[in-house]
């Protein structure tokens, strides 16, 4: 039995099918990458499987039980926790208390929750900032708090939505190291990331999402060599010249370029 399995998950926003019949499987101990251009539906997929959105169709199974229609907090209790691409620290709480809220998930008693929180803070390297308020942190600090909060809930499966976006190269290196430690601690992960080098190095397996559909799945090397992925996923940044003739696509590209600018994570590079 797989730790996690989604089948035929579909979500429509009016006329737009943001996620279309996606099958997705995670085995215990894996790090699974989830990639795709901006607007491919990655965040929406996370929202669907973590209980923040209800799928129109399809089933989501965690540890053998369907979790469709459950509240995010119940799903978190079961052992699946997500982070937010747009980070949500508790701005008026210290870093310690931010993490403590997560630690209360499996520790009713404040003393043992605090112990857990402290361990997580050390693990993600937030020790020096432990007494700062959530609202006072830099982007790098916020991303770490986001990770630490999720980690403190003691998840079996953690969904990480672009925890490295907006970080400096050295911060990215630090975060990779942290994720390595998290994996050693026995946490299975699904990571969404635009930094290809990170995804290729960390992931055991990768899914590619494009226009809401899972167009490919496989080992990093297989994904890199998959011509369909190269064309679909990298189309707008690499095959731009060939497609320039296509007026429709040019217009679409423009809108995507606008999105990219806002995102700040830059164009994906293999």
């Amino acid at each position: 039995m797989s730790l996690f399995e989604a089948s035929g998950v579909t979500k429509r926003f009016g006329g737009l099918t943001a996620v279309n019949g996606v099958d997705f499987r995670v085995e215990t101990g894996e790090i699974v990458g989830l990639i795709g251009p901006n607007g491919a539906g990655k965040t929406t997929f996370f929202n669907l499987i973590s209980g923040f959105l209800k799928p129109d169709e399809g089933d989501v199974v965690f540890e053998g039980a369907s979790i469709v229609g459950q509240k995010p907090s119940d799903i978190c209790k079961r052992g699946m926790t997500r982070t937010f691409q747009i980070v949500k620290p508790f701005a008026e709480m210290t870093v310690t208390d931010n993490v403590l809220v997560g630690a209360f998930n499996h520790h009713r008693d404040a003393g043992s929750a605090r112990k857990r929180a402290r361990a997580v803070i050390e693990l993600v390297g937030l020790g020096p900032q432990a007494d700062k308020l959530g609202g006072e942190l830099t982007v790098g600090g916020r991303k770490r708090v986001e990770l630490a909060k999720a980690l403190a809930t003691e998840p079996k499966l953690m969904l990480l939505d672009e925890v490295m976006a907006g970080l400096t190269p050295s911060e990215v290196a630090g975060m990779i190291e942290v994720l390595g430690r998290v994996r050693e601690a026995g946490v299975t992960m699904v990571i969404v990331e635009h930094v290809m080098q990170v995804i290729m190095n960390l992931s055991d397996r990768i899914y590619v999402l494009h226009h809401g559909e899972a167009i490919a799945e496989g080992r990093p090397q297989e994904i890199l060599n998959n011509p369909e992925v190269t064309k679909a996923y990298l189309g707008d940044s690499f095959l731009a010249d060939q497609e320039a003739a296509d007026a429709d696509k040019a217009a679409w590209r423009e809108s995507q370029a606008a999105r990219d600018e806002g995102d700040g994570s830059g164009a994906p590079r293999p």
Binding site: S50, F52, K71, P72, S73, D74, C76, K77, T81, R82, T83, F84, K88, P89, F90, A91, E92, M93, T94, T96, D97, L100, V101, G102, F104, N105, R108, D109, A110, A113, R114, R118, E122, G127, P128, A130, D131, K149, A150, A152, T153
Partner: protein, 401 residues
């Protein structure tokens, strides 16, 4: 009695990490200083009734204020501190703005009074019945509101509507005296069990104990998982839900608990005034007075509502004393109709406001206080004070090194 919900036994800063200003020792002393301050105040409050009639106290009191009136002011302070503390649980900690707590207050007063008048049930038991009934009303209100995801102004409007409906029902329900309300039967020789006393002192101590219990309860909540969950909900519900906080359930629990306390406050008020009437109790002014104490003192902090009540109530009472001449002033209408200069007429107008006309001067002053706090000390007096302490310390550090 820690002023902030999270100081607890704060984790020792990792070695070499947090340098200088925020190290452990200064914070420890600050906390214990605050504790000593609160203990001294408590000791004085415990002793006050013993000396309230003494010449020394009478000498320093404003004109027209007797020892018994002084006790009355303190009963009001304790009572509103207790009510603000009740509101603080849902309005401060959970951040769900209720502008309808007068409804729970009123229902609580009516429940225990009806139990007493019709069933002969001791108001002490009635107080518990009141708490049970109002917590059900609170939970029901929360269930409906939070099920439909009502937040911010929309939740506030629901609470306003709930209070107004409550007032109208009480106002037209003959069984509970309709607009005339209920006059509690006077006991010439009351027993403790009847929750009636000849002097003000017993009410004073009961209100004080209720306030202390509410502080203890909220202080305990602030350190517990529930308190952290409520604080998380106030700041970001999605983020809270994502890390396992059952946000809807917590909010419903918070409003039920808050309503239960407010209902107990209603019982106390009914026993203290011996007369309950909807148009005096279940009105917007009372709802606002309840929440204002917490907002001014510091919503979501343990001592904020208490500090707020200690600021707010004396201001309100002082306006009454000053502009009504301690309740013995000349009638306002005669003043206005009489042949007076502009300045004297203005005073007369203030008097008119103070007596409750046109909204009342106290309410205007509350508004001014609220604006001063919102503009000058966002978060309330207590957070501002602790921020001030930090700023001063930082400045001292800079000057010193």
């Amino acid at each position: 009695m820690a002023p902030s919900p999270s100081p607890g036994p704060s984790p020792a800063p990792s070695p070499g990490a947090s340098s200088g200003t925020l190290g452990a020792p200064p914070r420890f002393f600050a906390a214990s200083r605050a504790r000593i301050f609160y203990l001294v105040v408590l000791a004085l409050l415990l002793l006050l009734p013993l000396v309230s009639e003494s010449a020394a106290v009478e000498a320093v009191m404003p004109v027209g204020l007797t020892g018994s009136a002084l006790l009355h002011v303190f009963v009001l302070i304790f009572f509103f501190a207790f009510m603000s503390q009740a509101w603080n649980i849902i309005g401060g900690f959970a951040g769900q703005l209720s502008i309808g707590h007068a409804a729970f207050f009123g229902i609580g007063a009516y429940v225990s009074t009806i139990c007493y008048v019709h069933l002969g049930l001791s108001p002490w038991i009635g107080m518990l019945v009141a708490a049970a009934v109002t917590s059900v009303f609170g939970a029901g209100l929360g269930l409906v509101s939070f099920h439909y995801g009502l937040k911010g102004p929309f939740f506030a409007l629901v609470t306003v509507a709930f209070a107004e409906i409550t007032r109208l029902v009480l106002l037209h329900w003959e069984f509970v005296g309709a607009a005339n309300g209920i006059l509690l039967p006077f006991e010439p020789d009351p027993t403790f069990w009847q929750f009636q006393f000849k002097g003000k002192e017993p009410y004073y101590y009961i209100a004080l104990v209720m306030m202390l219990c509410s502080i203890a309860l909220v202080a305990w909540i602030a350190r517990s998982r529930f308190g952290y969950y409520l604080h998380a909900i106030r700041q970001d519900e999605d983020a809270a839900e994502a890390v396992g906080v059952p946000t809807k359930r917590c909010k419903i629990q918070a409003i039920a608990l808050s309503a239960a306390l407010a209902g107990m406050g209603g019982t106390f008020y009914a026993q203290y005034t011996q007369y309950i009437v909807p148009d005096d109790m279940v009105v917007g002014r009372v709802s606002v007075e309840i929440l204002l104490g917490a907002v001014i003192g510091g919503a979501g902090t343990v001592m904020g509502p208490i500090i707020g009540a200690f600021i707010l109530i004396p201001v309100g009472e002082a306006t009454r004393v000053i502009f009504e001449g301690g309740g013995t002033g000349v009638s306002l209408s005669t003043l206005i109709s009489s042949d007076l200069g502009f300045g004297e007429k203005f005073v007369a107008y203030l008097d008119y406001l103070a007596s409750g006309g046109g909204g009342g001067l106290a309410v205007i002053l509350y508004g001014v206080l609220l604006m001063a706090v919102v503009l000058g000390m966002p978060g309330g007096v207590l957070p501002w004070l602790s921020g001030l302490r930090q700023r001063l310390r930082r400045r001292a550090d800079q000057a010193g090194g």
